[in-house]
């Protein structure tokens, strides 16, 4: 069957009233859940999984997929409005998105996130449809040395996330790496820095750290400001419904670049997807004429990472659909759903269940379109929520954080962890140490260590593998180049200027 035949088969399946309804339900639920931080798609899908038992597998998968990318999308809303990132990718969105909201540009930030996501989702879906079988080879091509080098590159890029002192940014990345050490060491099974507390055996939970460092710390810091009673943000002039010409012109190239980066990284099953939004932010800041705008509400800093995130969310279906390899917990649940319906996930799904495969792909695009249709009108509702006086809004934010973090593993321990990181985040804010590089170190560190040690074990202790594998070598060379660029005086000067301006 040709490509077009496949697509038309897919659309005929996805456009049936029944499937369309479930696609809509999924994206709606997903958005709602994404907006509630902490309440991740995994928890939600698990609640809904029993319902999907009764549906036919294609419909079930369409529903689950809708929840998945709906949640990916919805997560950015809370990150932008109240600086509450509930997942890795929204950490980056929060940096410039929240600043935009504080400047009264929440509408623009949400708009660009919606449009960027839709564009990225469309491209991602097309990529899956056209190249899924071929791209699966790329997923298999990444072994421990390649992942290690990718993580090194990611960590060096993490420094770019900060806009203050370079030394402090590096120290924060390293601090994040140290925090990532807590828990059971994958390679040996040994416990590290758990101090006998079983709640730490699996490491410190990301959601608790992110909500503490960003959400709680932000609330405390807002409360000390005298004008806090008046509201989080000035609404500014609301402007037209769509983006201004200048905003659009600044945002679209960033969205295109972000889509490209996110789509490629999303294919890697070993956690490449989470690098997408960081990589895109780094790129945008690097090529911007005036990098000092970043961290202070640059629209490219929202458009790029949001597109990268959504493109990655789409292409991470490739290893699952073609190889049966889940790249994250949500995918694993979808595989579970397939298995419950007696469909063996894996390479043969495409040929043995073409209606399921192509129906799902077509529904992805429809889902993305529904998301935009659903969310553009909602933007007004979200923005108007910022009109609620802060004295009434912040207790509600705290409640949202507390319940959200509890729901991660139904354990009160995470509420305590979040509180501790809230205090730490506030102190770090006072010391002008930015939390975003710490979080990236925290996420990437364990993967870097795991892959370094795995690569050495597999090569019998021969460190040359990192340089003899071509992909690994290229990634390391790019990382080295990035280091050099960062170290040259001009870049340092720009940083210095940014730092001066920051003094507050």
């Amino acid at each position: 069957m040709s490509f077009l035949d496949n697509l038309s088969l897919g659309f005929s399946v996805a456009l049936s009233l029944h499937n369309l309804a479930y696609c809509f339900l999924g994206t709606l639920l997903g958005t709602a859940i994404g907006v509630l931080p902490g309440l991740g798609p995994v928890a939600t899908i698990s609640m809904l999984l029993p319902i999907t038992f009764g549906l036919d597998p294609t419909t079930a998968l369409i529903l689950l997929a809708g929840i998945y990318y709906g949640a990916q999308y919805g997560g950015s809303t809370t990150a932008i409005l109240v600086n509450l990132p509930g997942e890795t990718s929204s950490v980056v969105t929060a940096i410039d998105g929240y600043q935009m909201a504080r400047q009264g540009r929440a509408r623009e930030a949400l708009m660009v996130a919606a449009l960027g996501s839709f564009f990225a989702g469309t491209v991602g879906t097309l990529l899956i449809a056209a190249f899924a079988p071929g791209l699966s080879e790329l997923a298999l091509g990444f072994g421990a040395p390649e992942y290690f080098s990718l993580m090194v590159l990611g960590l060096i890029a993490a420094v770019v996330l900060a806009h203050g002192s370079l030394l402090k940014a590096i120290a924060m990345v390293v601090l994040g790496l140290v925090l990532g050490l807590v828990g059971t060491d994958v390679n040996s099974g040994a416990l590290r820095f758990t101090f006998g507390l079983p709640d730490l055996f699996d490491g410190i939970d990301f959601v608790a750290v992110a909500m503490g460092l960003f959400g709680i710390a932000e609330v405390i810091s807002n409360l000390e400001r005298a004008d806090a009673a008046r509201g989080t943000v000035s609404l500014g002039k609301t402007g037209g419904f769509f983006l201004s010409r200048a905003d659009f012109r600044a945002a679209w190239p960033a969205a295109v670049r972000g889509t490209g980066i996110g789509a490629i990284l999303g294919i890697l099953p070993g956690g490449g997807a989470i690098l997408g939004s960081f990589a895109s932010y780094m790129l945008e800041k690097r090529i911007a004429r005036d990098p000092s705008r970043f961290g202070k509400g640059a629209i490219e800093g929202v458009a790029g990472p949001e597109s990268a995130n959504n493109a990655g969310a789409q292409t991470s279906f490739i290893p699952m659909l073609t190889l049966g390899l889940p790249s994250n917990a949500v995918m694993a649940m979808m595989i579970g759903a397939l298995i419950i319906h007696n469909i063996q996930p894996g390479p043969q799904v495409m040929t043995s269940n073409p209606t399921l495969f192509w129906g799902l792909i077509a529904s992805m695009w429809i889902g993305n379109a529904l998301l935009v249709i659903l969310n553009l009108p909602l933007i007004g509702v979200w923005v108007s929520m910022l009109k609620i006086p802060y004295r009434m809004l912040y207790p509600a934010i705290l409640v949202l954080c507390a319940i959200g973090v509890y729901s991660v593993s139904n354990s009160t321990a995470l509420i305590y962890v979040m509180t501790i990181f809230g205090i730490a985040g506030y102190v770090l804010m006072k010391l002008q140490c930015e939390p975003a590089p710490l979080l990236l170190g925290f996420v990437l560190g364990p993967m870097m260590e795991e892959n370094l040690r795995r690569a050495l074990t597999m090569s019998q202790g021969n460190a040359a593998v990192f340089f003899t594998q071509p992909v690994s070598l290229i990634l390391l060379l790019v990382a080295a180049a990035l280091l050099v660029v960062m170290a040259v005086p001009r870049a340092a000067k720009v940083r210095g200027e940014a730092f001066e301006e920051e003094a507050s």
């Binding site: 390293v174 790496l177 040996s188 409360l223 509600a396 006072k430 010391l431």
Partner: protein
């Protein structure tokens, strides 16, 4: 006198954490090149963190920018206490009560909030949270106090 107090404190904080982690890392094995032990990474990272902390401190000591660090203790303590109480009471008091408590207590983070407004807000937020999380989403927590 130290001018740039903020950065000196930041540097010393990194040094402190680095040293602490380095000492603890001694308990974990070093292993061999082919089987790096669980102690190698912690040692490298903590040494690096200590060095970075020292560098930040030294740079800050030579810097004449005047900075200082003042913490606002009231919101810091009130918010932390409110969250800890939420966690502590959730299993016994039920979601409705702890949400209401969290709202009321956290409102003391700033002086002069209207207590009646606090109570009304608490009831509204608790009702909405109970409906959304327990009734609609089926979060496995008790809704009302259990004794």
């Amino acid at each position: 006198m130290i001018a740039n107090k903020r950065d000196v404190l930041a540097g010393l904080m990194f040094v402190g954490i680095g040293v602490f982690v380095f000492i603890f890392a001694q308990d974990y094995g070093i292993g061999t090149a082919a089987h790096l032990g669980p102690g190698v990474f912690p040692m490298l990272l903590s040494a690096l963190l200590t060095l970075l902390g020292l560098a930040i401190t030294v740079v800050a000591l030579r810097d004449h920018t005047r900075t200082h660090v003042t913490l606002s203790w009231r919101p810091l303590l009130v918010i932390s206490a409110a969250l800890l109480l939420f966690g502590f009471g959730l299993d016994s008091l039920g979601l409705f009560m702890v949400v209401a408590l969290l709202v009321v207590i956290s409102r003391f983070a700033r002086a002069g909030e209207n207590i009646i407004e606090s109570v009304i807000l608490a009831l509204v937020v608790a009702a909405v949270a109970s409906l959304v999380f327990v009734v609609a989403l089926g979060l496995p927590v008790p809704l009302w106090p259990t004794f």
